[in-house]
């Protein structure tokens, strides 16, 4: 048996991302559909779906036969068990014997001896594995990796470099405080648009509580989450690269749309839509010299390629507040236009509708015209982007005007079409 023979450990998360997302969101596609939809080979699908099935517990991922074809799908009972099993798929990165031995042995040695040189560490390392023998050179590489990842630090003592463990940040916190932080992380890992780092942190805190405080926090499940789009987690590694590029003012090279497009970009605004769980990147495409909005779940890879120059920083600054006038991300070339909607409801028994408009209406001005009729006005980049929201009020909302977009005509036609569909049932 050998780590390199494992079929399940993978080098690149991108291998499974697209298939897993479609299995979770749709759960109705067979192998043939995936081959056609994603343009992958049937062999690749077999391999990746086998991995995905192996990573996830049986009660979460299931298989059924539809028209003699196997279909993978996920089950989710968020009111009872809020665990996002998709996050577990991030825990399957391949590693070597040398990687894992260096990780544990170096930290164990530094827990015993506060400071050690590379030579002292090499001398103290157990030699157990004939295929993974530590040498001065490979140990230096592993120590550099541990420093870069933040587990250990270096101090220069004269001509020698000493290694030591990084600080235990939790040591001054009481058990009660750590449990409150643990609860907070349970919340953040589900609520933050970038939840994966909170997953990792909570799992590490759980390990810390067990090993350093003898507290078992496994059963501390007090939350359930509604409107939680679990699949966002699958794009968190791409999103993190984008956030880093934004903060550090760096240029990114992105490939997207099944690797069909590649662009060098300046990161503008990063937008998360809570209703549909879609994430967007407003950016400037350097090659075509224009701004664009790219769906983050369509980005296959994002890599840092260098600092922004002064001109590029000016372009980035100019992209601030892009979405201020957008319902989500859409706007027309002619700029914002005013939409006027009449909301009609029974004020005494349907007061919740007024609350809905105030809570969900992006700050639009609501004025009472007469009993049971309120007028709502909002300047918006693209009134058509509001159509699903307006439709969700059914007969209680009528668009009066919307500028050039003529949203009212689209709604009129769509309600008529819907009626015809039901009539034909």
């Amino acid at each position: 048996m050998s780590l390199s023979n494992s079929n399940y450990l993978i080098r690149d998360y991108e291998n499974i991302r697209a298939i897993l997302r479609d299995i979770y969101i749709y759960g109705c596609f067979s192998k043939d559909d995936f081959v056609e939809k994603l343009g992958i080979s049937s062999r690749k699908y077999d391999k990746e779906q086998q991995r995905i099935s192996a990573y996830l517990p049986e009660n979460f991922i299931q298989k059924r036969r539809v028209d003699k074809k196997a279909v993978l799908y996920c089950t989710y009972h968020g009111m009872e068990d809020s665990r996002n099993y998709l996050a577990d798929t991030y825990r399957n990165k391949s590693f070597t014997a040398l990687d894992i031995m260096a990780f544990f042995f170096v930290q164990q040695l530094l827990a015993e001896t506060e400071e050690m040189t590379a030579g002292e560490i090499l001398e103290a390392l157990p030699s157990l594995n004939d295929d993974a023998v530590f040498t001065k050179d490979n140990l230096r590489v592993k120590l550099d990796e541990l420093v870069e990842k933040g587990f250990i630090t270096t101090t220069k003592r004269g001509r020698s470099v000493k290694y030591r463990l990084c600080k235990d940040i939790w040591e001054d916190f009481s058990d009660e405080e750590l449990l409150d932080i643990f609860n907070y992380l349970e919340f953040m890992k589900n609520v933050s648009p970038i939840g994966m780092p909170y997953f990792f942190l909570q799992d590490k805190l759980k390990l810390y509580l067990k090993s350093s405080r003898d507290i078992d926090s496994s059963d501390y499940k007090v939350f359930s989450f509604k409107h939680n789009h679990l699949y966002n987690i699958l794009d968190n590694d791409v999103l993190l690269e984008i956030l880093k590029a934004k903060q550090k003012k760096r240029l990114l090279k992105v490939t997207y749309n099944n690797k069909q497009k590649e662009n060098t970009i300046i990161v503008g605004e990063i937008i998360h839509d809570s209703v549909y769980g879609r994430q967007y990147l407003h950016c400037y495409l350097l090659e075509s010299k224009r701004t664009s909005v790219i769906r983050i779940d369509r980005i296959d890879e994002a890599s840092d390629i260098g600092d922004l120059d002064d001109n590029e920083i000016r372009i980035q600054d100019g992209m601030r507040n892009f979405s201020d006038y957008c319902w989500c991300t859409s706007s027309t070339e002619s700029g914002p236009s005013e939409i006027v909607i009449h909301f009609m409801f029974d004020e005494e028994n349907e007061g919740y509708i007024k609350n809905r408009i105030l809570n969900e209406g992006h700050g639009g001005v609501l004025t009472k015209i007469r009993d049971g009729i309120y007028e709502y006005r909002l300047n918006i980049g693209d009134p058509d982007e509001m159509i699903p929201w307006i439709r969700s009020f059914g007969q209680r909302a009528k668009v009066i005007s919307s500028g050039e977009r003529k949203t009212e005509e689209k709604l009129k036609d769509d309600w008529k079409r819907a009626l015809e569909k039901y009539d034909s049932l």
């Binding site: 969101i25 990687d99 157990l128 933040g150 001054d172 839509d273 039901y422 049932l425």
Partner: protein
């Protein structure tokens, strides 16, 4: 990519837990921990390589007689990596921090992470289409309240509270045995799900209407967690939708219902999508609202009662534009 890292592997976590137990391990000890740390199918290539019986192939543990002994007998210190440290630093800047941590803990956390230079911030993400005036913008702090309710859930104890809506007191010194704290990411609000022993039923209440919350040293007469599962099972209803095969519609529809338990069917020959959703009875208005938002692209096939209601509302909406 930086998040997909071997040090976050489930096998690293497995070894860390085993080392934290200390001492030698039996096959059974290892098997139990594999079950806890490695959900899904066991990868024997990896587990057998990590716990090799063969001399010269061992890694962290050495086989001695019938047991596995750690190669180094010193404890394994649990340390956070760079991303985890940056995440810890970000906790104090989240709009939700006051709902979970006391001012003293926040200050301590701020000091503990003062030297961490984070090169990313979750606050650089613009969150769109959440309700206004929710928990993220509330000046009210729920920290001690959430902590008390969480304690009540863990210890299966009751809480006493007053239920107050603007201008009127609806309940005074009421008692409930909380089961879950529910949070809606769209509404940005907390609700408490619990068992009301007097009325012998499960209730859901907005946390911002609950005041003067006090943890009681009182246990319920029934197993409230088990009862809650039965309640959910009993209250679950199903709906079947026909979704137009327009890519952006299918995507929006499947996404908007993605937090419900679903079963979907794609008929390639007829190019048809059918989406079955299981939802709680209390969420029915919301399900209808979402169906209406899809307009003519989604049609309710079953049950007839909801089909009729949606039809009537569409008919009335259509008349508005005549």
């Amino acid at each position: 990519m930086i998040l997909f890292d071997e040090t976050e592997s489930k096998y690293y976590e497995l070894i860390a837990y085993l080392l934290s137990e200390g001492g030698s391990l039996t096959h059974n000890d290892i098997a139990c921990m594999i079950e806890q740390c490695c959900p899904g199918e066991t990868d024997f290539e990896v587990t057998e390589a990590l716990f090799s019986n063969t001399e010269g192939e061992e890694m962290i543990y050495i086989k001695e007689d019938d047991e596995f002994v750690p190669a180094l007998d010193s404890a394994f210190p649990v340390r956070n990596n760079k991303i985890e440290l940056e995440t810890t630093a970000s906790l104090v800047n989240s709009p939700y921090v006051n709902h979970f941590l006391s001012a003293k803990t926040i200050e301590k956390l701020r000091k503990a992470t003062a030297t961490i230079a984070a090169d990313w911030s979750p606050n650089d993400i613009t969150v769109k289409n959440t309700f206004l005036g929710g928990a993220a913008s509330s000046i009210k702090s729920y920290s001690s309240i959430i902590s008390s309710i969480a304690k009540a859930i863990r210890e299966k104890k009751g809480i006493q509270y007053d239920y107050i809506r603007p201008g009127r007191m609806l309940k005074n010194n009421a008692v409930v045995f909380p089961v879950k704290i529910e949070f809606s990411l769209v509404n940005d609000r907390f609700r408490v799900c619990g068992y009301n022993e007097d009325e012998k039923r499960y209730v859901k209440m907005n946390l911002d209407s609950m005041q003067n919350i006090m943890l009681l040293d009182k246990h319920p007469d029934i197993d409230v967690t088990e009862g809650y599962s039965e309640f959910i099972h009993h209250e679950t209803k199903k709906i079947l939708l026909d979704v137009d095969p327009v890519p952006h519609v299918i995507e929006r529809c499947f996404r908007v219902f993605s937090y419900y338990d679903r079963k979907a069917r794609y008929d390639k020959t007829g190019n048809k999508y059918r989406l079955g959703i299981s939802y709680l009875k209390a969420d029915e208005n919301e399900v209808i609202k979402n169906i209406l938002s899809m307009g003519s692209y989604v049609v309710v096939l079953e049950p007839r009662t909801i089909q009729r209601e949606v039809y009537n509302r569409i008919q009335a909406a259509s008349k508005l534009y005549e």
